[in-house]
C-alpha cells in the first residue's frame, strides 16, 4: 500500500510527467490560454490515461511479452515489436471515443479545444506513461496508480499555467513575446521550480539506496543471492 502511495505522489510532484519529463508540451502550450479549456483538457487527459494505461498493461503482459501466447498453445512467440503500434492504436481509439462523448455533452468545450482534442492521441505524455509502465515493470495496481498520478500531475501543470497566463494578461509583455514566447519562458521557470522536488526520495526501498563507498562491508560467509 505504501508503495502505491509513493508512486502516486512521485508521479504528481517529483516526476511530474510534464514539468520533469517534458512530455505533453504541444497541447499544454496551446490550450492553457483560458482556465476553462485547460480544466476541460486536463480532465480529458486524466480520463484517457486511466483507461489506456491499464488496457495497455493487460495487452502487453498477456499477449505481447515473450512466451505470453504459450497458454493459447503458441509457445516461443515474441510480439513486442507490435507494442508501439498497438499502444498507439488503443490510445487513438479511446481518444476518438472521448471526442464523441465531449461533442455530445459539451459542444462549447469541443469547439474551444479544436484540433487539440484529436491531438491527445499523439500527446507524448499518454504514450509516455504506457511506455514507462513497461520500462519500469509495474504491476497492474501500480500501473493504475501511476497513470492516475501522471494524469493529475499533467492536469495540475496545465491548470497552473492557465492561471498564470490569466494573471499575465494584465502585464505589459513586449509585442513579440506575447502569447507563445512568454509562455515558454514561464514554463521554463515552472520547470525549474519543480526541479526542487527532485531531491526528495519517498521510498525506503533497499534497492534504491546508494552504495556508500566507505561503508561497504562484505562478509565472506554470506551467500550471495543472484
Amino acid at each position: 500500500m505504501g508503495n502505491l502511495l509513493n508512486i502516486f505522489i512521485t508521479s504528481i510532484f517529483i516526476e511530474n510527467i510534464l514539468l520533469s519529463f517534458f512530455l505533453g508540451m504541444c497541447s499544454f502550450l496551446a490550450v492553457s490560454k483560458r482556465v476553462n479549456t485547460a480544466m476541460g483538457l486536463g480532465i480529458a487527459v486524466v480520463f484517457v490515461l486511466i483507461i489506456t494505461a491499464p488496457i495497455n498493461w493487460v495487452i502487453n503482459n498477456q499477449l505481447l511479452v515473450p512466451n505470453a501466447l504459450a497458454k493459447f498453445g503458441f509457445p516461443n512467440t515474441d510480439l513486442s515489436f507490435l507494442r508501439l503500434i498497438i499502444f498507439i492504436s488503443v490510445i487513438a481509439a479511446v481518444v476518438q471515443l472521448v471526442e464523441m462523448i465531449i461533442e455530445k455533452f459539451s459542444p462549447s468545450l469541443y469547439m474551444s479545444l479544436g484540433i487539440f482534442l484529436p491531438l491527445i492521441a499523439v500527446n507524448c505524455a499518454i504514450l509516455g506513461v504506457s511506455l514507462f509502465m513497461v520500462e519500469k515493470d509495474y504491476t497492474f495496481q501500480e500501473t493504475c496508480v501511476f497513470s492516475l498520478g501522471s494524469g493529475i500531475g499533467w492536469w495540475l501543470a496545465i491548470l497552473a499555467m492557465a492561471c498564470i497566463r490569466d494573471k499575465m494578461s494584465y502585464s505589459n509583455v513586449p509585442a513579440g513575446l506575447e502569447g507563445l514566447g512568454i509562455t515558454m519562458i514561464t514554463t521554463g521557470l515552472m520547470a525549474m521550480g519543480f526541479m526542487c522536488f527532485g531531491g526528495i526520495s519517498l521510498s525506503n526501498d533497499e534497492a534504491n539506496a546508494e552504495p556508500s563507498v566507505s561503508n561497504i562491508c562484505y562478509n565472506q560467509e554470506n551467500h550471495i543471492k543472484f
Binding site: 517534458f22 491531438l119 513575446l177 507563445l180 521557470l189
Partner: protein, 203 residues
C-alpha cells in the same frame, strides 16, 4: 500555391514550432548538442514528407470517422518499416537513431500537417509541405542546439570553440544550458525574434 512559396511559408511565415506550436516536446529533449538536433530535424523532415505524400494519395478513401486512427496507423507503420530496414542494412545508424524513432511517431508536426494539409491537397504539394515544415522545424532546432551546445559545453558539433585561455581566466560552462528549462527559455526568445523580424504578425 507554388512549391517555393510553400517551403518559404513553412520555414518563415508559419514555422511549425514558432507559430503552429507543434513538435515542441522533442525540441526540448534533443537540442543539447547540435549534431543530435540536426539528425532529429532531418529524420523528421523525411518522415513528414513521406507520410504527407502517402496520406494525401489515399485521402479520398479514408472514412471521416476513423481518420485519426488511419493517420496514426500510416505514420507508425512508415516509421516502423524505416526502423526495421535501418536495423537490417545500416545498423550503426539505426542504433544512433533508435531514440528518435518514438519521438518522431508522436511528434505533433507529423499528425498536425496530415490533418491540416495532406487531407485537403494533392500528393506532390503535400510532399513539399512536409519538406518545408520539416526544414522549419530543423532550423529552429539547429538554432537552439547550437546555442545550448556552445554555452553549455563550449563545443560545436563536438569541436571545441571556446579557447582554453578563457577557461583559465575563470570562464565556466553554463550548466543551466544543459537542462530542459533552458530550452524552454531559449525557445521563447527564438519565437520572440521570429515574430518581431517577420513572419505572421500576431496570433
Amino acid at each position: 500555391m507554388t512549391i517555393k512559396k510553400i517551403i518559404y511559408n513553412s520555414i518563415w511565415v508559419s514555422n511549425p514550432i514558432a507559430f503552429q506550436v507543434l513538435g515542441v516536446c522533442s525540441a526540448l529533449a534533443v537540442t543539447v548538442k547540435l549534431e543530435d538536433s540536426l539528425v532529429m530535424g532531418l529524420s523528421l523532415t523525411l518522415v513528414v514528407a513521406l507520410s504527407n505524400f502517402l496520406l494525401s494519395s489515399i485521402r479520398k478513401l479514408i472514412p471521416n470517422r476513423i481518420r485519426i486512427i488511419v493517420e496514426l496507423a500510416v505514420i507508425s507503420s512508415l516509421v516502423n518499416i524505416i526502423d526495421e530496414m535501418l536495423l537490417a542494412y545500416y545498423f550503426e545508424m539505426s542504433k544512433a537513431l533508435s531514440v528518435f524513432v518514438s519521438l518522431i511517431i508522436t511528434n505533433c508536426i507529423v499528425m498536425g500537417r496530415a490533418e491540416a494539409f495532406a487531407l485537403a491537397n494533392s500528393p506532390v504539394l503535400s510532399f513539399f509541405d512536409g519538406i518545408g515544415n520539416g526544414l522549419g522545424y530543423a532550423v529552429v532546432l539547429g538554432i537552439i542546439g547550437s546555442l545550448r551546445e556552445i554555452f553549455g559545453s563550449g563545443t560545436i558539433l563536438g569541436l571545441k570553440v571556446i579557447p582554453q585561455y578563457l577557461y583559465d581566466i575563470g570562464y565556466v560552462d553554463n550548466g543551466l544550458m544543459l537542462i530542459p528549462p533552458a530550452a524552454f527559455i531559449l525557445l521563447g526568445l527564438v519565437i520572440w525574434i521570429f515574430k518581431s523580424l517577420g513572419g505572421a504578425k500576431g496570433e
